[in-house]
């Protein structure tokens, strides 16, 4: 086994874990400007690149958000095709999203702090060479 392959795999695992952790907040954030229906939500997620796995895996997540009363759903007629089920933030969902938005910058900066050398990357690599 080549070491490159192994480190790729663990980086991939880290990425999928990270995405899994923040996915539900991305989903909640997508609803902050108003109700969205499932297909629409998944299309946006896919487009943004926030989705680690296939679209179908978001439905169990939506189901949990519904059970936890972070979102609620309602049916709306559509001009084309079947009625759509719209997902909408509840007050609890809005609060959870606000809380995440509050801690995220600190978390992101803390991780950046470890990844980027204090003097700045370009300077230290220049000095080393």
């Amino acid at each position: 086994m080549e070491p490159g392959k192994a480190s790729n795999r663990s980086a991939g695992k880290a990425e999928s874990q990270l995405r899994k952790g923040v996915l539900e907040y991305c989903v909640l954030a997508l609803m902050q400007d108003g109700p969205r229906y499932g297909v629409e939500l998944l299309r946006e997620l896919e487009r943004s690149g926030a989705l680690a796995t296939s679209q179908g895996t978001v439905y169990p997540l939506l189901s949990r958000l519904r059970r936890d009363e972070l979102v609620e759903t309602s049916w709306r007629e559509s001009t084309s095709g079947p009625p759509r089920r719209y997902y909408e933030l509840t007050d609890a969902g809005r609060a959870a999203l606000a809380e995440f938005a509050r801690i995220w910058p600190g978390f992101r900066d803390a991780v950046d702090h470890f990844l980027v050398p204090p003097q700045g990357r370009s300077e230290s690599t220049g000095g080393e060479a």
């Binding site: 499932g38 796995t53 179908g56 559509s78």
Partner: protein, 187 residues
């Protein structure tokens, strides 16, 4: 919708149903209904794109696995499993019993026997050792000690000094077993 499309959708949903067999029925129905709904809406927006829609939805197995993880059936990370009484047996208890049951037996014969039996049961019921370490301790403290007893009974040693030495060896074996267990216990 064409019949062939319906068959393909049914096959896909049946696969999800099958892979999600471990989910509570209510959750499973909900998942299948959500996916069926998605397919219907996506097809209304993109007719003739069924295989693409299904490909984007993804592998029924990974969808089911996600559903299991979300519902807690598949083990949610961070949520520790229930601790049974077997996990709560303190490691010190069988260790002390093994170390002390031989000397206790000299004080009062039945005490030693009861202590040894209790130690053996606790050791094998407890979850804080691997089977390998349990087997090593059992061999040292029980099989070897008992074997020596049986051997002594048949050989019938000539003088008390030999018996003392043999007893010391047995206590030593029990102490080694106890130390081994103490060192290998799961913390």
């Amino acid at each position: 919708m064409k019949a062939a499309e319906n068959t393909e959708i049914d096959a896909y949903l049946a696969a999800v149903q099958r892979e999600a067999a471990a989910l509570p029925p209510e959750r499973r129905q909900e998942l299948v209904a959500d996916l069926a709904e998605h397919i219907e809406v996506a097809l209304a927006e993109r007719p003739d794109a069924l295989s693409e829609v299904l490909r984007e939805l993804g592998d029924p197995r990974s969808i089911a696995a996600t559903a299991l993880a979300e519902s807690g059936v598949g083990g949610v990370p961070g949520k520790a499993p229930e601790r049974g009484f077997r996990d709560r047996i303190p490691a010190l208890l069988p260790v002390l019993l093994i170390a002390l049951s031989l000397p206790l037996g000299f004080v009062l014969m039945p005490l030693g026997t009861i202590g040894r039996l209790a130690a053996l049961v606790l050791l094998w019921v407890a979850t804080c050792w691997k089977v390998r370490d349990k087997a090593i301790a059992t061999f040292l403290a029980f099989v070897a000690v008992l074997g020596i007893n049986i051997a002594v009974y048949y050989i019938d040693p000539p003088n008390p000094t030999v018996i003392d030495v043999i007893t010391a060896v047995q206590i030593g074996l029990a102490l080694i077993a106890a130390s081994w267990l103490w060192a290998t216990r799961r913390r």
